[in-house]
């Protein structure tokens, strides 16, 4: 008798626990059915605002729900007018933007000049903590809205003026002929009034003007994007929708793809690269993306900025067997770099194959000579710093060091120096605490040669982590930006790139491809130059 009541009590406790646990679960499944595809995703790092999203995962969504003045051709990367009817300038400084008629947000509101001007003012304002604020740094009045230090002195950019419903003007604080081509970047997207009037609600469920609308969003789990039937653009979605599923690990996504539970995985884990061809065959994509990996140097360190050090750097570059590393470690998902840009730019856009010349060709004998002529490796030993928390940085850094050690005939010439997290790595870079070369990956914001050079090598530029400075380079970049003729501008940028080469400001390693795999249900799958799937083109079934 006593025993049975006791047992019942235990059962009740267990049941209560179970109920409590199930009761709180709020993960609702997104509406599927029809020609909806599922795609792997990772939690965006920041709230989904156009000017606040600077990583691929959030960018993926913005690319589906927003269309801007320009759009980068998914195949060629060329910037084409989209919402813009024309963007005109006479002096490369003041631009008149005219909008096409008939564009609306998915909530029915018209896209007007004000939708852009308000959005850009919001993005630039220091008060709003937007991580892409510096994109508006070319616009006149940025210093007032977003000062380097102290309080902000204005709420709006003085360089932006609404002329009428479909026209506005932009005045820049310097000549920049490439400016219109930057406007395809998500940070320049227009925003509806709802963004400003009920910001919290908007962030929970963003409203844009792209081919998809967000139907449901469970943070950290999944987002269901539905085809927007009223979309006025020419690039309507060819499927009924996309469910983005958050995966904790790209290996699991890949496993799910193989098991038939997932339609599209756009990040093939490095460990699976050797199987992917046999697993997926034709359904594996490996296409160039606007990403380049380099080794940068700490020029704030006397040892690396002294005269003659450029010979050491060039020697190091020649000691790296790029072909072997990309073949064995990356299995052809990287291409040895021969310049400092990316093949996705195309020859007309500024990519110049072989610009690096002999300095990027593997030549251990010459490498040894050059390093000796340059006075040897500073401190006698090279440490290559990288973050070990993502990608396969450890493998390739070890391989690069191995290659250098072999070339120099010294087992201890080069060692990797892993840093636990990316944040800590960034922290050390920002604190100028490097004593040797460090990993410097660069993913383009927009397909312009300017974007591969200026932010990285211009004096004091935002991503010039090594603090490299060269007057000639700066002068050439200024001239290239001021040049109105695109071909001449590109030629000047390439001359600036030659300065980078002659000083070996950073060692180019390889161009990175985008990788994806998809299920048999899908067709017309492609990756754009930003290595993001072109969702609206995908057909299901």
């Amino acid at each position: 008798m006593r025993r049975s009541t006791h047992a019942r009590r235990v059962a009740c406790v267990v049941a209560a626990l179970v109920l409590a646990a199930t009761g709180c679960a709020g993960a609702g499944a997104g509406g599927n059915g029809g020609a909806v595809l599922s795609s792997s995703w990772a939690d965006p790092q920041n709230p989904l605002e156009p000017a606040n999203t600077n990583e691929v995962q959030g960018g993926k969504v913005l690319d589906m729900i927003f269309r801007g003045l320009k759009r980068y051709d998914p195949k060629t990367g060329k910037a084409r007018d989209w919402l813009a009817r024309s963007i005109e300038t006479r002096d490369s400084r003041t631009f008149t933007v005219r909008l096409k008629n008939g564009w609306i947000f998915s909530n029915g509101e018209k896209v007007t000049a004000r939708s852009f001007v308000d959005a850009w003012n919001y993005g630039a304002s220091l008060r709003n903590n937007q991580k892409n604020a510096y994109f508006f740094g070319y616009i006149d009045g940025y210093d007032e809205v977003h000062p380097q230090s102290g309080r902000q002195r204005a709420d709006t950019l003085s360089g932006l003026k609404v002329v009428d419903d479909h026209t506005f003007t932009v005045r820049l604080n310097q000549k920049f002929s490439g400016f219109p081509d930057t406007l395809g970047y998500a940070a320049f997207a227009p925003l509806p009034r709802a963004f400003f009037t009920d910001h919290a609600a908007w962030v929970r469920k963003p409203v844009g003007n792209g081919p998809y609308t967000i139907e449901s969003y469970t943070k950290g789990a999944q987002m269901y994007l539905k085809k927007w039937d009223g979309y006025p653009g020419p690039d309507k979605a060819r499927n009924d929708g996309v469910t983005l599923l958050v995966y904790t690990d790209s290996n699991t996504a890949y496993t799910d793809l193989l098991a038939g539970n997932l339609d599209l995985a756009d990040d093939i884990p490095a460990a699976q690269l050797k199987n992917v061809k046999s697993d997926l065959g034709e359904r594996y994509l490996n296409t160039p993306a606007g990403i380049i990996q380099t080794l940068a140097f700490p020029y704030y360190d006397e040892a690396w900025s002294r005269p003659g050090a450029e010979k050491v750097r060039t020697g190091l570059s020649m000691a790296i067997n790029r072909r072997q590393i990309t073949d064995t470690i990356f299995r052809g998902t990287r291409t040895p770099a021969t310049d400092w840009t990316s093949p996705v730019l195309g020859a007309a856009g500024g990519y110049k194959k072989g610009l690096c010349g002999r300095a990027c060709a593997y030549d251990p004998g010459r490498a040894r000579e050059l390093i000796e002529e340059g006075g040897g490796i500073p401190g006698g030993r090279l440490t290559v710093t990288y973050n070990a928390d993502s990608g396969s940085h450890r493998q390739w850094v070890d391989a690069v060091c191995n290659s250098i050690n072999n070339a120099l005939g010294d087992d201890r010439a080069c060692v990797g120096n892993p840093v636990g997290t990316f944040a800590d790595f960034r922290n050390q870079l920002g604190g100028h605490r490097m004593t040797g070369p460090f990993r410097a990956g660069w993913q383009m914001d927009y397909p312009l040669i300017q974007n591969f050079l200026q932010p990285l090598y211009y004096t004091g530029a935002s991503s010039n982590d090594g603090a490299w400075s060269n007057e000639e380079f700066d002068r050439l970049v200024d001239r290239a930006n001021a040049e109105t003729d695109p071909a001449r501008s590109v030629a000047l940028f390439q001359r600036a790139e030659e300065v980078v080469r002659d000083h070996m400001a950073a060692i180019p390693l390889w161009y990175q491809n985008g990788n994806a795999g998809y299920s048999e249900r899908l067709s017309h799958v492609a990756l754009n130059p930003f290595s993001v799937p072109v969702y609206n083109e995908i057909r299901v079934g």
Binding site: A25, N129, T248, D249, T252, S463
Partner: protein, 306 residues
Amino acid sequence: MGRHVLRRLLQMIPVFVGATLLIFLMVNVMGDPVAGLCGERACDPATAAQLRREFGLDQPVWRQYLTYMGKVFTGDFGTAFNGQPVTELMATAFPVTVRLTVVAVLFEVVVGVTLGVVTGLRRGRPVDTAVLLATLVVISVPTFVTGLLLQLLLGIKWQWIRPSVRAGGFDELIVPGLVLASVSLAYVTRLTRTSLAENRRSDYVRTAVAKGLPRRRVVTRHLLRNSLIPVVTFIGTDIGALMGGAIVTERIFNIHGVGYQLYQGILRQNSQTVVGFVTVLVLVFLVANLLVDLLYAVLDPRIRHA
């Protein structure tokens, strides 16, 4: 009994304060959380400074700790970098992990204790040797190997389960729960076996047998009650360990629970998430330990007076 409970409750306070302070210091040692926020590039100094101010990171650590603890008591765990309140993250993460832990503990109790009893009563027989060997294998193979192997075999080769977890219901969590429980399960088996084998030779069991009690009653009422004390301790402390240690299992099976949030938090150096989740985990540990101590007192009245 009341005094015993009260004393245990009071003991929890310094432990809680000390543990949270430690984790707070450790997270701060990791470096500036704002540094990694802006992708491959450095955050522009003005925005970074403002973010630091908003998250209170420009204050001295002791001040940050005090403000933080003050807020925690009102249920405010701060905001994660993606703009989500940490409590919201917890509300989605903890239920899943609690369910996973329940599954794991059930495996430990049901399978572990049963195997332990069976082997403990049959020492030296083939069953005993076989289970001992099996536990040895389970203990020596790392969780991620077991997990990936089961995922590959059951998920892809035989298609019995989905290789990844979607909603996180109990049915989906059976295999991940087994993986999570595997090592502890082996320990529970061994612990029960040893403890049982030891007590079988004790005087009170001999007396019970001599009294002519039926074998079942001897085993359940006399033998098990005493033999399970170390097992209860182990399982009790293991609850906290399972919740905190689910990082590997949750990653493999795509479970969006506590382990996943902690992993993300550490990776992105999101101190609010990490400190918040660890604080709750510390509480879970403390409560689990308290329950163990109370259960002790129920199982063995002598402990109450100690």
